[in-house]
Amino acid sequence: MVATEKRRPKSYVKEIIMFLVGLIWILPFFYPLMISLKPRKEVYKDVLALPTFLDFSNYAAAWDKGNLDNALFNTAVITVVTVVLLILFGSLCAYTIAHKPGKLWGLTYIMFVVGVILPYKLGLLPTYVAFNNMGITGKFSGIILLQTGIQMPMAVFLYTGFARTIPRTFEEAAQIDGASTFLIFRHIVFPLLKPVTAAVTIQTGIAVWNEFYMSLIFLGGSKRLPLSVALYSYVGDNATQWNLVFASVVVSLIPAVLFYLLAQKNMIKGFAGGIKE
């Protein structure tokens, strides 16, 4: 059936039209690239025209003034530490939930599931007050604790669904051989959880990397600005200098595009996760 469809000319037309739709879909990204290479005087002269020469000085200026190296570093630290904590605590908790019988553990699971949907904005104010008293607003520790707490239900939810389907035979065999529970988890269960670890890394990693609202509240005005907030304040200061703004936009997009290319296969699976297969 697939083979016959391939030969039908109608199918070619459909796909080529869709390909053109796809090109239009990503057309907006053409502007940051083009404008960031335009000399300042040409930005508005003819907005649709290509630059007369490629002006890379925009990138140097944006890098200098926008503190982009610092923002990239901050975002990377926050994202990596948060995702590591989510994988470590999330997988351990999910494994426990999947193994323990009884109502209390059932309720614990429901607590995480509800947490996936329950909005967290209302809790940010008390958290902000508490963190302020503890002196951890404007610091890595504060935002990492917060992001880990916010994303934890999603991590446990994803892990538990998968942990429940792992056959127990492997664990039992290892147990008979005298391995401790932690060794069994570390060497048998955790490697089996790999697909869901990929999904957790992708979903929560991108959410944390792109986060703006909490970062604005908890890190605004500090030295630990992540990309989203750094970009926001940079645009606030240079609203009309689109050549500079777009140089920083392009820089801020490069890591995500590279990550996408590296994790391409897992990426789409990770985002489609949750569907029964």
């Binding site: 907006p28 809790g123 801020s252």
Partner: protein, 305 residues
């Protein structure tokens, strides 16, 4: 789901055999979730009934005064209506476009994989960066007016982001553009579950493509729909980044969402009590809508399958 429950029974038997997992393995995750996602939310709910400004030592209980203020002033009501409109439009258009793209890119040549990537890429990119790109496109002297004018569709440029109604639609367009790819991916995963036999049978029976879609594809996409509707609903009601980047709530507060209003009232003006009341209303909206939607969609899933 049947093999899962029998597997669970097996597990119980094996568990009785004695693989003992200490309870405290689960403790850090539970602590994180309970403290950040539950206890602080309850504490925030308390602030909503006080006059706290964040500076004074005492928060006085003032009953429903904050809520009355929200519902009696246009500055409180307007963002609520706008947010509901955002959510509705975002759910509708993201899913519509997502389903159409998924169906058109499901089977066929290799080219479709490239197309899928192009449609998916906005999903993962920094929303702030993407929003600024769109802000430029919508500028008076920007490319959108440029193209429309050179094609002769417009005589004069439009100030899209300062227009009382078009600014709303500009924001909706940007959010839908970002979410349609995510919906598409989830629908594509759902389409994998529809076997070729069923389709072939329908084709032999002489069903038109449209009939095939409504009698086979659409019902079988019910589980995907449960996920995409819940995702786009929460995204729509919590809309913040795009509004801040594109219009900052303007013109005259017409594109202000509940989330931007909460941010301004609480963290810019320091009206903690008022901001908490707004947050509590938003929390109730999202939770109620999500629960009702999940119930309806799950029931639909059961009926359809």
């Amino acid at each position: 789901m049947k093999p899962l429950s029998s597997g669970k029974q097996l597990a119980h038997k094996a568990g009785a055999g004695g693989l003992y997992i200490p309870w405290y393995w689960a403790a850090p995750a539970i602590l994180f979730a309970l403290s950040i996602r539950y206890i602080t939310v309850i504490a925030g709910g308390w602030y909503a009934f006080t006059d706290w400004n964040g500076i004074s030592l005492r928060a006085n209980y003032i009953g429903l005064a904050n809520f009355i203020k929200v519902f009696s002033q246009p500055i409180g009501k307007q963002p609520m209506i706008t947010t509901l409109k955002y959510a509705l439009c975002i759910i509708l258009f993201s899913n519509l476009i997502g389903i159409i793209f998924a169906c058109l890119l499901d089977r066929g040549m290799r080219l479709r994989f490239v197309t899928r990537v192009m449609i998916f890429i906005p999903v993962i990119l920094l929303p702030m960066a993407v929003s600024y790109t769109w802000k430029f496109i919508f500028q008076y002297k920007g490319p959108l007016n440029g193209v429309l004018q050179s094609l002769g569709i417009l005589d004069k440029g439009i100030t899209w982001l300062a227009h009382p109604t078009l600014s709303f639609w500009a924001i909706v367009a940007v959010v839908v553009w970002r979410w349609a790819g995510r919906c598409m991916i989830i629908y594509l995963a759902g389409l994998q579950n529809i076997s070729d036999d069923v389709r072939e049978a329908a084709i032999i029976d002489g069903a038109s493509p449209l009939q095939q879609f409504f009698s086979i594809t659409f019902p079988l996409l019910a589980p995907s729909m449960t996920i995409t509707f819940t995702l786009t609903l929460t995204a729509g009601l919590n809309i913040f980044d795009e509004v801040m980047a594109l219009t900052a709530g303007g013109p005259a507060g017409l594109t202000e969402s509940m989330a931007t209003q909460i941010y301004t009232q609480t963290y810019v003006y320091g009206n903690f009590g008022y901001g908490a009341a707004l947050s509590l209303i938003l929390t109730v909206f999202v939770t109620a809508a999500a629960l009702i939607q999940l119930q309806t969609l799950r029931r639909r899933e059961r009926e359809m399958s």
